[in-house]
Assembly symmetry: C3
Homo-oligomer: 352 residues x 3
């Protein structure tokens, strides 16, 4: 934990101080729980009143406001707060264990300088690992897999053979990377396993949550694009291509042979069927079920998923359905009475 002045922080994030730049800031905290020496941030105008009561020494905001607390005005307060957190708290540090004699490492594996391999990790034949990688206990890295520099592989992760992983990739505990795709040919009622000869390519700066299942391709590779982030318990089907800088939230699943463009957001528990194409900058709402290709820039909600504005209007109707049905019945009844009133007209009206 580092200690900085508010002025130093402002300089670091390219923001402006409203108040005393010599204030000493030691930690980051929420508006609600901050105490003296803490810096907080205002994410949402809804919480602007909390600026009056927070015990924080300073608050990062998008626009200067009247408040009894020092402000750090930054264009993108959430990003500025992130920079401040990294500066004050840093990312997780990892013990420098070196290569544990209790790890099982093949003679044919090649590890770059500065790697740390914990006890009970297994590195199979012909694995190549870059520099400064950290391999936690219980990790298994299969034959011929490659990892770039500065990867962090948390405990009990399994990386099946020949997986290709870029630089600065983080894989959280328990995930299975390049597990066989769910591929069977059903013949005379029996499901015959199809060898999954494709691989998995994970590009630079990807983070994968805990307990995810990323399938290897049947023929082609499954690809997770550069800088994409997957939450916990996400599944990616065989041969699917996730573009760069996507966010795929916890428990979402993308079936096989789908293609996602760049900067897509897939909400929690959402599902995307296989063999479709999702454009760039597409947002899929939480729990949405996407069954058709989606053009660039669209937002989709609901299951089955439809365009967001349409979906909001449509799903808002659900509670009204019983009344709607009753209204229809009453209309039918009234119309029947009107038809009866209009002598001679009834024949034409009741022609159903």
């Amino acid at each position: 934990m580092q200690e900085r002045t508010l002025g130093e922080l402002a300089e670091h994030v390219g923001g402006q101080v409203r108040g005393d730049p010599s204030l000493v800031i030691r930690a980051a905290a929420t508006l609600e729980r901050a105490k003296e020496g803490d810096i907080s941030f205002l994410m949402n105008r809804r919480y602007v009143r909390q600026l009056q009561t927070t015990k924080a020494s300073a608050v990062i905001v998008a626009q200067a406001v009247d408040a009894p607390v020092a402000l750090l005005v930054a264009e993108d307060p959430y990003y500025a707060f992130t920079q401040v957190m990294v500066l004050l708290h840093g990312h997780r540090t990892h013990k420098e264990t070196g290569i544990s004699p209790q790890a099982s490492i093949s003679d044919t594996a090649v590890l770059g300088a500065g790697c740390h391999v914990h006890p009970f990790a297994t590195i199979a034949d012909n694995v190549q690992i870059g520099e400064r990688c950290i391999v936690y206990p219980g990790v298994y890295i299969g034959e011929g897999a490659t990892l770039g520099d500065d990867c962090i592989i948390y405990p009990s992760v399994t990386i099946y053979e020949r997986c290709r992983i870029g630089r600065r990739v983080i894989i959280n505990a328990g995930s299975a990377i390049a597990v066989d795709g769910f591929g069977y040919a059903t013949h005379e009622g029996v499901h015959h396993k199809i060898p999954q000869i494709g691989g998995v390519v994970i590009k630079d700066d990807v983070e994968i949550g805990s307990c995810c299942g990323i399938e290897r391709g049947t023929l082609d590779d499954t690809i997770i694009g550069q800088g994409s982030k997957l939450g916990d318990l996400v599944t990616i089907g065989h041969g699917t291509k996730i573009g760069p800088h996507c966010l795929i939230v916890a428990q979402a699943g993308v079936a096989g042979s789908a293609t996602l463009g760049h900067h897509c957001v897939v909400g929690g528990q959402a599902g995307i069927v296989g063999h479709i194409t999702i454009g760039d900058n597409v947002t899929i709402g939480g729990r949405a079920g996407v069954i058709n290709s989606v053009p660039d820039g669209q937002t989709m909600l609901g299951a089955p998923a439809i365009e967001a504005d349409e979906a909001r209007r449509a799903y808002a109707m659900l509670p009204h359905l019983p009344q709607m049905r009753q209204d229809i019945r009453e209309l039918q009844n009234r119309l029947r009475k009107i038809a009866a009133l209009l002598e001679g007209g009834s024949d034409k009206l009741e022609d159903r």
Copy 2:
């Protein structure tokens, strides 16, 4: 496995015997599969006819009925059956392995008396573990984590650093506790990882299923309240507070910064968005998608979730929608004909 008389069991659960209290009971079984020496229970009046045919020696019931089998009448038959099962069968026993020399335990870790640590478990620096804890193979307990007395941590569980776990906590195989929250600040199209400096607090008597992902908080702690039980493959987002005595069924997910009260039930595959408040004694149906705060005592169903009675009526309408649409069209047609019949009136009627 213990052997008891029906009279002893009745005394143990505070119930009444209808029949021979000296009957010897050796095991618990379902009504359908019970054989002589077994005790069963009637969970639901629907199955009351099975009392006529069961081969059980005795059956636990809520109310005495005419049946050719001895009865144990108890106010809460399900709980009585549980007590009987614990008495006859007991909970899982664990081999007394002691501290395995094949485990990797930091010199700075402190373990209470009576702990069993299996081979290939890793206990990092400054971990504190209470008495009589069982740590199965492949478990990783990160730096500075604490566990209370009598915890059971099943194989391949990962507990990230500084997690605080209470007494009698059970964590099933493959779960990841205090994994980093899914927190990124997106700046110029790149997702920057936000250090997750909060922790996870798991209170006494919590059980967590297999392959769960419980995220640590960004700033504040994620909390799982006393006596709450999580099923398999559940995800809990960063900074979320689950109250005491909640039941969260398999594959449900609660996003970050949500708050649940006490005695909530979250059905299987249900999802709760972040930053909302769920009151006490709330029931969320299986597969429900909750997007707004819910007051105490409500039951919510559907996605998007609405109050249960309303939801049952609304979702029951879905199969009728095509007919409703056709009815509307027919009404429009008939009305058009009526308007045409009513000379002179048509102008006013067709003013749409």
Copy 3:
């Protein structure tokens, strides 16, 4: 990787060659990415135009067509392609490690001939393992569990005690088999754990994906039928019986005490409530939520799930709901005006 002539492949799959049977085939590939020496297949008539442009040396098809590429005509092209893939590429091979001295194997465990047990695997007391099984690093096999011949257990899988596993069973990384069912008796606001004394029986030729949770039964066994295949992150509740030759796709969940017949398909992220019966040859769509028993041969879609044709019609209505509601209001307005026009009739009409 084997090299074969097109004629040899045709003979192997029982198909006919259209073109030069002496063509040498070295690998399988998609139509799009195939190059000389590759064989591909036409799965869907939609892609028939790709036959004109593919660089594959041969393509497996269901019916002969005019194309500038050699064809292998087979009745079931997908199965034929699978047979060809197995012939050319084979299934994953496993290093012959023997029994690692770094594994922890109980003296009372019995292993058949030809088993390979990797470092850091744990095999508890009284486990019985058949011949030629492969136990990867970090696997835990609990007391008294049995495995048939030719099983493959991938890294970090946990098999709880007394689980009975058949022959040729594959369990992928991180899955938890025979974890305790989610069973609690709630008494005076406290959830009391019910001992789960049932087991799990996994029949021959089952494959289970990564990070699955298969619960042991409370009293009876949970059963996964012969030849059934489970995708990644699937959960199966306690006491549930899955029939033979079912396909359960990623992230699907079946709650406890449910029964599925043979040859059922459960789509990705679908959920099936407990205590219901799904017949034989039932198909449950992706994301469907099944809350009632389903007779043989039905296809169910949607949540709540209804029969597929009905569901397709019903869910297609969702985007029309706002217009439907507006139409109803307009009908009501017009009818009010008609009623006003019909002097004297209005009393009878507006009797709502």
